[in-house]
């Protein structure tokens, strides 16, 4: 009989990269910090931004919340609107070059906004995510397919990957966050009203029409 060592899958990776990985590997320290940070941020968002939530989040094992993006506050208000079980498992796709190039930003993004790293500069990244999503049995992803707070149209590619991997796409329209935390402002402006609309799952929308259907949903509700 001999011992068989199986190092953790993320062993040897720098902390910055470990924070951004998906699926997340269990880590007592980071998990505890993430829980504490999540409670703080949800408490603060609920206290400072009166939020109206329309529609309800459908039950399911693999759900991708696909939202319009106009502010850093977007992911935080979605987080605050979810149940604690969903909050624990949610991962928010965030640009690696912006959120995970430096440790302090990676810590903030991962602990407070549940961010995971998406490398938008690498053309093989979608293939990698396609494999990850296919293998994942359950989870909840928050995706901003416009890829930027300054762009309003959704990129087709990530929607295509989500749909082909069998994830349920749920459209989410966020309104009011642009005024609550404008692009370029260092801090949010508290006590602005925010509205969040969860649409019905887009299971019967053909993949090629997803971007257009999302655009219409956001236009009508955001």
């Amino acid at each position: 009989m001999s011992f068989e060592y199986r190092p953790m899958p993320d062993f040897g990776l720098p902390l910055r990269e470990r924070l951004g990985q998906y699926p997340r590997q269990p880590d007592l320290t980071i998990d505890a910090l993430r829980t504490a940070a999540r409670w703080i941020v949800v408490g603060l968002v609920k206290l400072q931004f009166p939020t109206e939530v329309r529609g309800s989040l459908p039950a399911g094992e693999r759900i991708a919340l696909v939202a319009n993006h106009q502010s850093h506050l977007d992911s935080l208000v979605v987080l605050a609107a979810l149940s604690e079980r969903r909050r624990r498992e949610i991962a928010c796709l965030a640009a690696k070059d912006y959120f995970f190039s430096r440790l302090p930003m990676a810590l903030g993004g991962s602990l407070f906004a549940m961010a995971v790293s998406f490398d938008r500069t690498k053309y093989t990244e979608l293939r990698r995510w396609s494999r990850i999503l296919r293998d994942q049995r359950r989870g909840c992803l928050l995706v901003f397919p416009s890829g930027s707070r300054r762009r309003s149209e959704a990129h087709d590619a990530i929607l295509f990957v989500l749909a082909k991997s069998g994830w349920t796409i749920v459209p989410v329209a966020i309104a009011g966050t642009r005024a609550a935390w404008p692009v370029g402002a260092a801090l949010p402006r508290p006590f602005r009203r925010v509205r969040l609309t969860f649409g019905p799952p887009m299971s019967d929308v053909p993949t090629r029409d997803l971007a257009a259907a999302l655009g219409e949903f956001w236009k009508a509700n955001a």
């Binding site: 060592y5 062993f11 040897g12 269990p26 007592l28």
Partner: protein
């Protein structure tokens, strides 16, 4: 001038001087490999001295954090980290050992591993599983004894009257021993002598041993003036030989697991365990040497 006769202010000044001299040495010899670890030292030394200046609680806290983080690296490397309950018991044992040491409860401190291993026996029963349990149990015992209890001796050293000098000497001399072995090996090393750590050379190891003995006598009047000459000699040998044995022990663990370093927190050094490897073994041996032969400090 009176303050400089005390170990802590004197060693703080000496460490600052050492950093400057070593920086100048690296610049003169153009030893490029030394710059990254040197920069990391510029961060580590202030942390060590800040903890000591804060008092024994600061030092105990630093030792506990380092033990826990070091064990976390070990558990992640071996896969034990998947077993949260084992890991939590080891963490709790580390905290308990340092608390016992901080309050100077020597009896409790000495039996802390017994209680901790006793608590470990409950884990397979609670998990109600047999698969992999022997391996996880064994790795947890290594964590409790080698990374937890052995390192907690550093906290116990600090609470003795006059022990602060000994702590400073043991910590700095052990680290210096590693640096000297590295430098002697780089500059003069020809003959490799062990497969456990293929870069080790006879010249580097003997150079570090000789340096440690000389360094012990240099520190004698400041760090442990109560000890006789053979006490200083003994401490020099413990640091010189024990440091290298501790280094080789961790090198064996790493090669057995199949990794190069335990982590990457400390650029140029690897993980916390890669830095603590010598100290882990030296701390208990030094403490029990002084306690056995001199009953603490005569």
């Amino acid at each position: 001038m009176e303050a400089l006769a005390q170990p802590l202010p004197a060693y703080t000044a000496l460490a600052a001087l050492g950093v400057l001299v070593f920086g100048a040495f690296l610049r003169l010899t153009r030893l490029r490999a030394g710059w990254t670890p040197y920069r990391t030292w510029l961060v580590m030394l202030p942390i060590i001295f800040a903890a000591l200046w804060l008092g024994i609680w600061g030092w105990a806290l630093l030792v506990t954090i380092l033990s826990i983080y070091g064990f976390k690296e070990f558990a992640r490397a071996t896969g034990l980290y998947r077993e949260r309950l084992f890991v939590l018991v080891v963490y709790a044992a580390m905290v308990a050992a340092n608390v016992a040491a901080y309050f100077g409860r020597f009896g409790l401190f000495m039996v802390a591993p017994v209680w901790a291993v006793g608590a470990l026996t409950l884990v397979p029963i609670i998990r109600n599983r047999t698969e992999g349990m022997l391996q996880n149990f064994a790795l947890s015992v290594v964590g409790i004894v080698y990374f937890g209890w052995f390192l907690a001796h550093l906290t116990y050293l600090a609470i003795w009257t006059g022990g602060l000098g000994l702590v400073l000497y043991v910590v700095l001399a052990t680290q210096l021993n590693d640096v000297i072995a590295f430098l002697f090996g780089k500059l003069l090393g020809r003959r490799h002598w062990t497969v456990l750590s293929p870069n080790k050379t006879v010249e580097g190891s003997l150079g570090a041993l000789a340096f440690s003995v000389a360094f012990a006598f240099l520190n004698w009047p400041l760090a442990f003036p109560e000890l006789p000459w053979w006490g200083a000699l003994g401490l020099g040998v413990i640091i010189g030989a024990g440091g290298q044995i501790g280094d080789l022990t961790l090198a064996t663990f790493k090669r057995n697991v199949g990794i190069k370093d335990f982590g990457n927190l400390l650029p140029g050094h690897g993980g916390v365990l890669d830095r603590l490897n010598s100290l882990t073994l030296v701390a208990p041996v030094a403490l029990h040497f002084v306690r056995f032969f001199f009953d603490g400090f005569p």
